[in-house]
Subunit: 256 residues, 3 copies
């Protein structure tokens, strides 16, 4: 199986899919093409969370503001998964999550042919590489000029934001905002054991279900990724809490 | 075959799909993930209209404002189709439409495991149940604690809006608005036999094709679902007629 | 394989897919359902660019402002591809591009059954015809009343915009705007050999990669379709250049 993830929106994903189907009868699954535009960090978060739900596959991941520059193209063996995409950090958190501690993780530099366009490597570099790897097998390709092993120290690094525990106050940041407007923070849900908490000073109930508060009311809950989410039942948490991706979030337990 | 319908938008559908593909090589078809957010009635309408086009399958349907509360999870045998989703009424009109009069229709309560998240039962409850049913067969599961037969009288009911015939005036309501802005009413197209009609007092032509009026002009036509639709050729009927889902619509034949 | 392209957006594509799956186990691939609404010219451009990436298939293409009028329904044998859609010109540029000079190209008029709706021929005419052709083969159908050969002279014609070379000034028009806001012109990238050019009098750098300029800065590049594109790195070229589909574009090499 091959999967496709990108920030391409509506039209361009089909070009990647067509290129693959020219060379393979394999299943091709769209994961999402609505990754936040050219936001490498949010793209890494979504791909990490979504691809861990998938069986082993060759996963194309393209959020690529540096397309056409000299940024490298990469292939990663991450346990039983293979990732294909640009060297801008987006593959790193995904590869870490997909690889068990007893499994191999190896990065390869992918040769970009000179006939590739300078604006659409999804179609001209990553999708062709993915289907070649899928059809021929990674092992047969790693000893060719097509794929060159590289040391991770030479690659663009990326870590998703963590959090700090400062005695009754947890500090983290907004990793992503989903399309319901739910604000996903980097603070784990296990950090909270209280009925009310303050988010950057705003006191809201900490509940298990959106519907535990009235429609239109704010809440914090442990979202499906295991992190604290600042939400509004049937509304948009990003507006209520006035938070954007990357903003700092401070969580304090309310004791009154 | 399995199908997926939800109001999840861009990212979350892939999590459901990944969970299924972990356990099955079956075809998984996205029906739509753009159901109006947390609108059970509109979701029921779209699923009813769309799923009747499909061959027998296990259909996951998730519009679920009550996720994480004690609302039940359901599986429905609806003739040769199987539906999986929350007990909030959304499955009822779909099940009625998919089941022929001589076919069985049976509702089952689905056991929700305690390890499921409280915010994403599509990934943690409905998709896993659907693939289990698809792979093992409903018959082998109905005699287990996994699925308990329930009486429909104990379930949340939902009927889509109907219409009334009040001597030359038909009264109904807006079932849904499609993404062209076409206003789909609950009044059947057979109710009208006239060249012009009034919609809540606004006189417009009743025509067979959008292009029977100029671009930008309003019209009423019998839409592809068999209901009267209040539209604007190449424009947005919802704006021209100032109608939203749930609004009352009165149709009167113009005789001048 | 069958593919689906339309301007239907979110809900209606599934109806076409369901109709096909009722009659075939074939692979059905969504190309895009976000073609610009009822814009035949832009639809033809996108389908031409995207479908040339695909292996031979039966391609359903529906941008159909004339649905329900007496416009004809067509099937085209375009080399090893088959196109199905309305006679409004949209199939013409696609068919020309998909057909090699030594391959046959033949247009057929498709009989529309009277029971078809007047508002949704994607579901009632084009998808059923496509799956019939896919399952039975075009050859066995061309000698039946289902498909009647027609002369292209009797069909709606459409040519995508070209360009003119007026001594150091190239004049063309905007073919389409992608969902990043990139303005795709009809002027080939080979027309420019300079570090700066003027677009309708605005001087901008001509570069190979978006990231050759700062985020938020304007540029012209040769896009992935081979045409000049007026873009903003990580922004929206359509806003910066104030251009819409169909607008005239004049490109002049800056020599200072």
């Amino acid at each position: 199986m091959l999967t496709l993830s990108s920030d391409f929106g509506s039209q361009y994903p089909a070009a990647m899919k067509g290129v693959i189907l020219q060379h393979s009868d394999a299943r091709v699954t769209d994961v999402t093409h609505s990754l936040p535009r050219q936001d490498i960090r949010a793209g890494a978060f979504w791909c990490r969370e979504l691809l861990t739900q998938f069986p082993p596959a060759v996963h194309v991941i393209v959020v690529d503001p540096g397309v056409g520059t000299d940024r490298a193209a990469l292939v990663v063996q991450a346990g039983s998964h293979i990732l294909v995409g640009p060297d801008n950090g987006i593959l790193r958190p995904v590869a870490r999550k997909l690889t068990s501690t007893d499994e191999p993780k190896q990065y390869y530099r992918l040769t970009v042919e000179s006939r590739a366009s300078t604006t659409f490597h999804g179609r001209d570099v990553f999708a062709p590489a993915a289907v070649t790897i899928h059809e021929r097998g990674l092992d047969r390709l790693v000893s060719t000029p097509f794929l060159t092993p590289v040391d991770t120290a030479s690659l663009t690094s990326l870590r998703l934001p963590g959090y700090q525990d400062n005695v009754n106050e947890y500090t983290g940041s907004v990793i992503a905002i989903d399309n319901f407007g739910n604000v996903i923070t980097s603070i784990p849900g296990t950090a909270v054991d209280a009925a009310r908490i303050s988010v950057n000073g705003q006191s809201v109930p900490f509940v298990q279900a959106f519907a535990a508060v009235e429609p239109g009311s704010a809440l914090v809950t442990t979202g499906s990724h295991g992190y604290l989410e600042c939400d509004v039942n049937q509304g948009r948490g990003e507006c209520y809490f006035d938070l954007s991706t990357g903003d700092m979030v401070s969580i304090r337990t309310d004791t009154e």
